[in-house]
């Protein structure tokens, strides 16, 4: 049978969303017991991923992944968060990673969108433009 992990994630969210302290712990424990009973523990990572997605959606949070060539300073991160908050009208959660290949600049993913401001991409575009003219 095909397991709909999304439904489990939604159910878990409903169960824990208004819980606090001890009741939260009990809800989580019970959920794991249910999974174990139904032999669904193998699906736990998938359910957690779906839960994260659903949680973000409900709490109006947007994950923004940024790739840079070098470490960003705290003030730079704050600046990006501020801009993204305004642009998406959602609470921004930054996930940073470092990629030497970009040479410079910044690559920004959010939802299904990509804004590629890296030096690598600009060089590739320049190459294309030069080739197109000749």
């Amino acid at each position: 049978m095909k397991v709909n992990t999304k439904n489990y994630a939604i159910a878990l969210y409903e169960a824990v969303s208004d819980g606090k302290g001890e009741s939260l712990k009990i809800a989580a424990k019970n959920f794991i017991k249910i999974l174990a009973d139904k032999n669904l523990l193998g699906y736990a990572p998938k359910i957690m991923a779906d839960f994260q997605k659903y949680y973000n959606e409900k709490q109006n949070i947007i994950e923004v992944k940024i790739e840079t060539a070098r470490e960003l300073s705290e003030s730079e991160k704050k600046e990006i968060t501020k801009v993204m908050n305004q642009a998406t009208k959602k609470e921004t959660e930054l996930i940073t990673s470092i990629n030497d290949e970009l040479i410079g600049g910044i690559k920004l993913f959010y939802a299904d969108n990509l804004i590629d401001g890296s030096l690598k991409n600009q060089l590739a575009e320049l190459k294309q433009q030069l080739l197109a003219k000749n």
Binding site: A111, L126, Q129
Partner: protein
């Protein structure tokens, strides 16, 4: 050239370089294999939109599900990995069209594969297009001469018609259509030959044959060979159709050959099964009928308000052991305006082209046949049918009355005259002459095994002695008593030179 000049030029161009940041829609590859990719993200992709997998590999979004996109990959899918980024392009798949493509051998994406450099064309047509609407069309009125006596006399094809060519392997289906292309020389018809799932060696042989007969000057060859991925086999006929449509829109006549659609259906079946679409009869998906009907519906004869161009389609279907009642053959038979049925039994008996005159039919072409041909060939089909019946009966060897004997003799001569070697399409006026001779009993006194010799001799004699009469047939398009008289005279004269 000055070295500094080049440096300055590049410097200038680098200074001119414009860069604007843009938001691109992306997704990630979740699963990839067998030419199919499952992609998450890309939430606003369109159906049959082109997707950019990077490294000049493109795909087409076919399945738009709730969480995933099922896409076919056009080209080398070996380098695509799980987790790769996929960008949407906002464009529907398109191919280059125009005069720059004519004379070239291209793949299903319109990229050249003949080693003659890039294609000079700045016009593109989408490969999928809605067929011309009713108000843009007009009935078929102009003949498309194939140069094959059996077809032009009994199953005439009109410009804008769709005539199926169906038969087992090795019955001369491809030979027939190659002759038809060769015969379009000087007829102002642009030809597109689409090969689907054929051996590269066969394609190379056909191209060199077309070149040898000067037919590549007005022909485009679209090749999706047996080694290409199924996705390319699936889109090749649509690409070929788009290239012909461009010329139709310019008011020109075009001929497209799909060789063959059974392999395209098999490729589409493969893609559909991999995309987990439910299988139906013979494991073909439910929309395999629509696959062929929407392709063949794009053949049309446009009326004068829309340029008056035409697109004639000759799809080919390969049957297994003569089974025309299988799924794909019945589908395509019902879509087209008639079929030419080739039989391996006839082929081995030496009747080449091996056309079964009983099962073949052309539903709209007779309106387009020139009157002269109609006059001489009107009784041909009936006589052939009677001959076949009597010949089967006469095998018992009993004594036959005079009338029956005469009928059998006539039939044997007709079927002899309809034989035709490959790469020798015949102009319509010669066909009229020779069919006139046989249907009017003027060759009844010539031995059956001498008929072919007589035919070539007569055509040569007519070209030397009575060119004016032949030209008159072409010009007046019908046989008036005067032309008929001179034809009769010509044939008797030639017979006298023999004795």
């Amino acid at each position: 050239m000055n070295k500094n000049y080049i440096i300055d030029l590049i410097k200038q161009q680098i200074q001119d370089y414009q860069h604007d940041l843009k938001v691109e829609k992306v997704g990630t590859v979740v699963e990839v294999g067998d030419g199919i990719a499952k992609i998450s993200g890309l939430s606003d992709a369109m159906a049959s939109e082109m997707l950019d997998f990077g490294n000049d590999v493109f795909g087409v979004a076919l399945n738009l599900d709730e969480d995933f996109i099922g896409a076919i990959i056009l080209g080398d899918y070996g380098r695509i990995r799980e987790g790769d980024l996929v960008k949407s392009t906002g464009r529907i798949l398109e191919v280059p069209v125009g005069q720059g493509v004519v004379g070239r051998v291209v793949n299903a994406l319109g990229q050249p594969i003949d080693g003659k450099g890039p294609i000079k064309s700045d016009k593109f047509y989408p490969i999928e297009k809605i067929a011309p609407r009713v108000i843009t069309r007009q009935p078929v009125t102009t003949p498309l001469q194939t140069g094959i006596k059996t077809i032009d006399s009994m199953f005439p094809i009109g410009r804008g018609q769709r005539e199926l060519i169906i038969g087992d392997r090795q019955t001369g289906k491809t030979a027939l259509v190659i002759d038809a292309i060769i015969n379009q020389k000087g007829q102002n018809v642009t030809c597109v030959y689409v090969t689907i799932g054929q051996k590269e060696a066969k394609v190379a042989r056909i191209v060199s044959e077309l070149q040898a007969h000067g037919a590549m000057e007005y022909t485009i060859v679209v090749s999706a060979s047996a080694a290409d991925p199924a996705s390319l086999l699936y889109i090749a006929p649509f690409a070929g159709c788009a290239m012909a449509e461009y010329f139709m829109d310019q008011g020109k006549d075009t001929l497209v050959i799909y060789d063959d659609l059974s392999k395209q259906a098999a490729a589409y079946r493969q893609i559909s099964l991999l995309l987990k679409r439910p299988p139906g009869r013979e494991a073909y998906p439910g929309d395999v009928f629509y696959l062929h009907s929407r392709l063949l519906e794009r053949s049309a004869r446009l009326n004068a308000d829309y340029g008056g161009g035409s697109l004639t389609a000759l799809p080919i279907i390969e049957t297994q052991a003569g089974d025309i009642a299988a799924y794909i053959p019945t589908n395509v038979i019902s879509i087209t305006d008639g079929q030419i049925f080739l039989e391996s039994d006839l082929f081995y008996q030496g009747v080449r082209p091996a056309i079964n005159t009983g099962l073949s039919v052309s539903r709209v072409g007779s309106a387009a046949q020139i009157k002269a041909m109609k006059q001489v060939a009107g009784k041909l089909k009936l006589e052939m049918a009677q001959y076949r019946e009597l010949a089967a009966f006469a095998q018992f060897g009993s004594d036959l009355d005079e009338a029956t004997k005469k009928q059998i003799n006539r039939g044997a001569r007709i079927s002899e005259i309809l034989k035709q070697p490959q790469y020798q399409p015949m102009p319509v006026e010669h066909q009229v002459l020779i069919i006139y001779a046989v249907t009017n009993g003027l060759v009844d006194d010539i031995a059956v095994d001498k008929i072919r010799e007589f035919e070539t001799g007569l055509v040569k004699y007519a070209q030397a002695q009575a060119k004016a009469t032949l030209e008159k047939i072409v010009k007046e398009k019908q046989l008036n008593p005067e032309i008929e008289e001179s034809l009769k005279k010509l044939i008797t004269e030639y017979k006298q030179t023999l004795s």
